[in-house]
Symmetry: C2
Subunit: 139 residues, 2 copies
């Protein structure tokens, strides 16, 4: 069991565990946003994963993109573009953001990271988003 940085727990909802990553839904109603956290102790960069782990990560980034699209559809705001980011400047534990973007989202066309403050989900929308993401990810 790899510990999840409390920064993720504070800002996202658990979806479950894929083959490599713990998957979470970012608690930000502005964008359908999946966070993937490889369950690999002390990993901070992609180069800290084995080649097999990197292959799994790429597969799971793809799956997270499908899940972000599924969340967008469930919330009647279909995703128009996917953005993928692996930064970790603030939270060093290796993680990958997969974010569904639309031309009418608040940060478009800039990146979402560091842009404004998260918007809380309405409770029913959060439940809808989590259900759609889990179904898409097979969780």
């Amino acid at each position: 069991m790899t510990a999840i940085d409390p920064a993720f727990v504070a800002t996202s909802e658990p979806l479950g565990d894929l083959a490599l990553c713990h998957a979470r839904l970012q608690a930000d109603a502005r964008y359908p946003w999946i966070v993937l956290i490889p369950r690999v102790a002390a990993a901070r960069e992609l180069e800290d994963l084995s080649p097999d782990q990197r292959r799994l990560l790429m597969d799971e980034v793809l799956a997270a993109g499908h899940a972000a699209r599924a969340v967008g559809l469930a919330l009647q705001r279909p995703v128009e573009k996917l953005n993928v980011g692996q930064l970790g400047n603030l939270t060093p534990q290796l993680h990958v953001h997969v974010v569904g973007r639309r031309r009418d989202d608040p940060a478009w066309p800039g990146p979402v990271w560091g842009f404004g403050s998260a918007a809380a989900y309405a409770l029913d929308e959060l439940a809808t988003a989590i259900a759609a993401a889990k179904l898409s990810l097979g969780l």
Copy 2:
């Protein structure tokens, strides 16, 4: 031959072709920054690549990270953190940014995309950066 969007030509210097991607050095002295452009016609998202192409892309993202580190060392500003981003909100042709970050760089800890304006390289630094990146990438 896949055409490279003129937006890349205007903002970066060619390094050469890897197995999948055309590699370029972003013409921005603020950060050691490699841009990878898969030579796959009409690709806009990772899901537009085949599984084999995605595996190659992951390998080349790793290689570009090593190259960004090499550029940072050559310019005596060692990279402290790698940032990887696949956005494409402005330039739709599929591409991946691999950026070497430092705590003293102007955008830290935020993302580099959309942050301020590129700083021109001094000519000798540009030559040094290109040489270091090519050597690291085997180009």
